[in-house]
């Protein structure tokens, strides 16, 4: 007797967000990226449609980052030139987007000006054709200043900018609204604050299809299961027609995975842990692939070798009859 699959019927689907704009749409991108739109839990092709495949945004920073050599060696000399680095990510590592993090703006660090940061964004936009995500330096006051300038200078490009947080969302939401960009709404691993922040931003007038949720995550071994369950609740909420949780999700995989000791210590220090290169690559890969299963739409990644593995995993998962 044939086994009949039990299928769940969902009332609604995840909202779809478009990032980037081509010349016909008022921007200069050669292609745009669509995320979200899914009508099922991740990759259950027999229950509903996975409208868009998850994408990988490779992280580029405006000043040379303090990353481990496993990653830095793969990136090479271009690490000191954001535009060339971004170009390499797209051309050699097949990045779907660039996740540009302006750590140089930090007042505690190099304290680069809004003008300097804007120039970096312009250089990156000129160097690549893919859509660009731009985030600040995690200093709310400085970020508001820098990102407002960038939003204006890149008007028409339909960037994804961030990070809007519960205590600091108004300036960024206004900048996204006025200059027509998408906004990342970040909440600290908290589904209730996540929903509330989306409500607050939408009350300001930014349409729901211009918001992307950054739920914050933990890397493998550092609370990933907590992130998983929160993202799962958000995804189930969106499928049950909770409009205020129905946005696609972006995950800072590279940042979290590479904070782990396991990605950074050598085999000499921990002989039982195996080669650092394999370990670091797998740490980021597995952080990414676990979160794909709970509904991540945009994976922000650093390690090119991990990007390659995750890209293959996404292709396999998107095959309907696999």
């Amino acid at each position: 007797m044939a086994v009949v699959l039990v299928k769940e019927r969902y009332q609604s689907k995840v909202g779809e967000v478009v990032i980037g704009a081509t010349s016909e749409q008022g921007g200069t991108r050669t292609s745009v990226v669509k995320v979200g739109g899914d009508g099922t839990l991740p990759f259950l092709h027999f229950e509903g449609k996975m409208e868009n495949r998850p994408v990988i945004a490779m992280e580029v920073t405006d000043i040379v980052p303090a990353w481990n050599n496993i990653i830095k060696d793969q990136i090479g000399d271009v690490i000191s030139n954001p535009a060339a680095w971004a170009k390499k990510c797209v051309e050699e590592f097949n990045a779907d987007l660039i996740y540009l993090k302006l750590i140089g703006a930090n007042p505690e660090g190099e304290n680069r000006s809004a003008e300097q940061c804007t120039q970096v964004v312009k250089d990156v936009l000129a160097a690549v054709g893919v859509p660009v995500v731009v985030v600040g330096c995690d200093d709310p006051e400085k970020d508001n200043e820098v990102l407002a300038a960038i939003a204006e200078a890149a008007s028409g490009e339909n960037l994804l900018i961030g990070l809007a947080e519960q205590d600091n969302y108004k300036s960024l939401a206004a900048a996204a609204m006025v200059h027509k960009h998408n906004l990342i709404a970040r909440s600290p691993l908290d589904i209730n604050i996540c929903k509330q922040l989306n409500i607050l931003i939408s009350e300001m007038g930014l349409p729901l299809n211009r918001i992307v949720i950054d739920p914050m995550i933990g890397g493998l071994g550092y609370g990933i299961e907590y992130a998983y369950s929160i993202m799962e609740r958000a995804r189930l909420g969106s499928l049950a027609n909770d409009k205020m949780l129905s946005m696609p999700m972006i995950c800072t995989v590279g940042y979290e995975a590479n904070r782990a000791k396991e990605a950074n210590v050598s085999i000499d220090e921990y002989p039982g842990w195996g080669e650092q290169e394999d370990r670091a690559t797998l740490w980021e890969t597995l952080t990414a692939t676990a979160l794909l299963q709970t509904g991540a739409s945009i994976l922000c990644m650093r390690n090119p070798a991990a990007v390659k593995l995750v890209r293959e995993n996404i292709a396999d998962l998107m095959e309907k009859d696999a």
Binding site: N192, K195, I199, L200, D242, M244
Partner: protein, 264 residues
């Protein structure tokens, strides 16, 4: 929690007059006001304001003028099935039929009508003899209606069963029996049929109407109530519905949950 606004009913003076004078204003006013209050459906009932033979035409008119101002789906409420059918032909969004008792002839007419017009249906746990006193007999009628849904091909999620609450100032013993009925009805099928109450009935002619409605709504929700035909403009009552959803973990908490619950 599905809120069905009760106010467009010919029993109310302003609606009755609107019906008699073919004046759309009071009906349209209450359509908008109930939508603002938090209604998901608008109940539409001519009541005795229109003579029986004129009701099909009256329901056509009501559906037309309400849909001019509101996008909400309608709950067509009448014992005159020709009137309901006249309305069903004009609705823009799948309607809810209110209602059918557990009587064979009526079941045949109304269940097939619901399927034909892709409408949901409220079934009453009573027959031509009347409303049972206890939960067991209410549930026996509910079972007949569940079987009818199966027989006529109405999806179980589209069947709303109403165990019929009576005014507590004259028939107090019904209140706990109805709660028990709701609990039992939810176990009759998988997926379960939905449950609904004409909530305001519980407080008929009592000076503490609002308090009784609000309290009973919270109690019934805890037993599995899915929908209520109720006063959508009693803000505190709508707040009870919203809060009940949070405390039953049916929607995810956010500080602005009361406001979000009202957004359509």
């Amino acid at each position: 929690m599905i809120i069905i606004g009760e106010r467009i009913n010919g029993m109310f003076k302003d609606i009755g007059e609107g019906l008699r004078n073919k004046d759309p204003k009071p009906l349209q006013h209450w359509a908008l006001k109930q939508e603002e209050g938090g209604a998901h459906y608008l109940d539409v009932n001519s009541g005795p304001a229109v003579p029986s033979h004129e009701r099909p035409e009256a329901y056509e008119w009501m559906v037309k003028i309400i849909q001019e101002v509101s996008e909400l789906p309608l709950c067509l409420d009448s014992t005159n099935y020709d009137a309901i059918e006249a309305g069903l032909k004009l609705v823009k969004r799948p309607a809810l039929i209110n209602s059918v008792p557990a009587e064979r002839a009526k079941i045949e007419r109304v269940f097939s009508m619901a399927v034909t017009y892709n409408a949901a249906l409220i079934g009453l746990t009573m027959d031509n003899v009347g409303i049972p006193k206890d939960a067991e007999n209410r549930v026996a009628f509910a079972m007949e209606l569940v079987a009818a849904a199966d027989e006529f091909g109405l999806p179980m999620e589209d069947l709303f069963l109403d165990p019929l609450i009576m005014p507590c100032n004259v028939a107090q013993e019904h209140a706990p029996e109805v709660l028990e009925s709701i609990r039992m009805i939810k176990t009759l099928a998988n997926p379960a049929p939905k449950t609904v109450l004409g909530l305001s009935n519980v407080s008929q002619k009592s000076p503490d109407r609002h308090l009784i409605n609000r309290t009973y709504l919270a109690m019934a929700m805890a037993c599995g109530l899915d929908a209520a035909i109720m006063d959508a403009n009693d803000d505190a009552l709508v707040d009870v519905a919203a809060t009940g959803q949070i405390l039953l973990n049916k929607s995810i908490y956010a500080d602005s949950y009361l406001k979000v619950f009202r957004q359509r």
